[in-house]
Symmetry: C2
């Protein structure tokens, strides 16, 4: 019996548990805290930056995978040296741990992306900005950013002075994009690659708010292009597991790579209900080198909306009385204003109607205020 | 946060775990053995006929429900007296614990069923058999039978002599049925009732082998009739949770009640993939008195085939290479010849093709022999 170890006890690890049960594989979670979202499968609570703890946890599993990308690369390499099957491999994870490493790798692959530059000193800044099209541009901390944190719009020379004292900063062209897309797929260690149709993602305050799947009004060429970008990255970088490629569709309809993730991703939650195989199941299949499942869609279209703050039981009941088709997922997190607390998926025929339903559901669930 | 306690660690408890995770409720399982199918949620291993153990387990949960019907009725009543929320209530469970109690209750409700008689002595036998249409007829032990066990075809007076020394025996008319059906639905304690479309079940050696959903070639009247039978039983008996009504369709197309179950049922596994709401999720919603989920179908039709013996990982890989759309569920039981070890669901447009796929999948998984 395969046993999969997951580092991180957040909602992604949580949602791997149903997939493990359905597949008939064992799962164990290394969580940072007691009572995490993934508490049901948690076998160890500890510090994921401690090699000995991670090593001890790994002795009991066949493969080690992740719910986040925060385990230091040196530590991952040390685990590999100790014989742990780390999937995706550290050489692939290097790209999602450092955005400068990612930009360099994508450049080497010749993939379309925003113009970018690395700066380490204030004196390099102006020529670097000039090389990517001038102000305003985007500055990113290469390490540790997520959900809009560690990202800034830069309007003038002094805007990244504080960051430069800490280390190199990534500058990117501010792309005039029509919208954002996300291409998800998975690759197993036999090299099999299977993709889902590209989705449209909508953000609010720098955080993913809504997803429409498949992305409406894309040409077949664009769809195939998105899949090809995902496949090229997965193969060339040696990804094992789910790969999410966040894309900009620019004003000319060209797709540019924005960000990568090598794990199940918020933009893929919709496939739990919409596709024969969820991203969580596909991730577990990939890292344990099973053949990948069908990514055929079960309905014409589906939408996902994120829920913030908390997911109140009484308000959920109110939702279901009106929308029994709404699949509300609660992550069982301690409620906190603005926190991703769950999501809702609705599938059917027309995305416009489904999204209206999803937003109506979120409005009902937002009647309770978690600011206090 | 609602916490649901489940007595029994079999595959039904196992499959409630993903539903609990998706709904965002806590779940704890009282299992008979270490390493059961539901081990991931098991918080207590013990004896379900021990009142104190059950009582202790119940103090930590908001509602107590079941993966089987073997907890003695007296014990369930004692738990209720101690303030435990037992769902379904013992008054309803009485019908599934004793087939004679069930026949009497269905007679009182005026529901269509095979002619039946209760016999306690050899001397009553011939007149009882006469009253239900003569030999051959069916004899059933009122308590403890399942999957064809405790059921006999009776051809002559001496055929139940041994059983009569143990207690009363239920005799039933041997119905000349076209096929067997199963009507599933759920009722919560607010009295809300939601049904799935009736399914066709096919048996081999007295055990459910295949399910086709919805049952093909039924008239709308028959479908509505099946739902009405389920609803009448659920309401009049006060079922809380999933109710499965096993039905015979006789030569005239009339539906007769064969058996009942008040928990998720093998014939409903297909709805995990086929319906917006699985029977496991619906059961948890019912017993915790949430509004019930939509039972709309996601595809035109679906089939389920049971897997016996074991579910070999290499053979599963072989299946997926050919049929990536097959959803194989392994219950992670110790392999044993003839044991229900898992099931496969395929959904799509034409049940004949889907069933061919399902049977082909089972054939591949049967290449390994668990007799040894």
């Amino acid at each position: 019996m395969v046993k999969i170890g997951v580092v991180g006890g957040g909602q992604l690890a949580r949602m791997m548990i149903p997939a493990a049960i359905n597949l008939g594989v064992d799962i164990a979670v290394f969580s940072e805290v007691e009572g995490s979202s993934a508490k049901l499968a948690t076998s160890h609570v500890g510090d994921y930056t401690n090699l000995d703890e991670l090593s001890e946890f790994s002795t009991d599993v066949d493969v080690l995978t992740f719910d986040h990308e925060h385990v230091p690369l040196g530590l991952l390499n040390a685990l590999v040296e100790r014989g742990v099957n780390v999937s995706p491999p550290p050489s692939a994870l290097a790209l999602v741990q450092n955005k400068i490493v990612m930009r360099k790798a994508l450049t080497a692959l010749g993939l379309p992306q925003p113009r970018w530059a690395e700066v380490t000193t204030e004196s390099e800044l102006l020529s670097a900005v000039d090389s990517i099209g001038g102000f305003p541009c985007i500055a990113k901390l290469p390490v540790g950013g997520y959900d809009g944190k560690g990202v800034r719009v830069v309007a003038g020379a002094g805007d990244v002075t504080d960051w430069l004292t800490e280390g190199p900063v990534l500058l990117e062209e501010k792309v005039g994009f029509r919208r954002e897309l996300s291409q998800l797929g998975a690759r197993n260690s036999s090299g099999e690659w299977v993709a889902w149709p590209v989705v449209e993602t909508r953000q609010a305050h720098g955080v993913c708010s809504d997803v429409i799947a498949p992305a409406p009004s894309l040409s077949v060429t664009q769809m195939a292009n998105a899949v090809a970008i995902g496949e090229q990255i997965a193969e060339q970088v040696g990804v094992i597991g789910v790969l999410a490629v966040e894309l900009f569709e620019n004003a000319e309809g060209q797709l540019l790579v924005n960000e990568l993730a090598m794990r199940p991703h918020n933009s893929g939650h919709v496939f739990t209900e919409l596709s024969v195989t969820s991203q969580f199941e596909q991730h577990l299949r990939s890292v344990s080198n099973m053949p990948l499942g069908s990514t055929a869609l079960i309905a014409e279209t589906g939408i996902m909306v994120n829920l913030f703050g908390g997911v109140d039981a009484d308000l959920s009941a109110k939702v279901w009385t009106k929308y029994p088709e709404a699949k509300i997922h609660s992550y069982q997190k301690q409620p906190r204003s603005g926190r991703k607390a769950g999501h809702v998926v609705v599938v059917g025929l027309e995305w416009v109607e489904l999204l209206e339903t999803g937003i109506a559901v979120r409005d009902i669930l937002s009647e309770r205020d978690y600011d206090g």
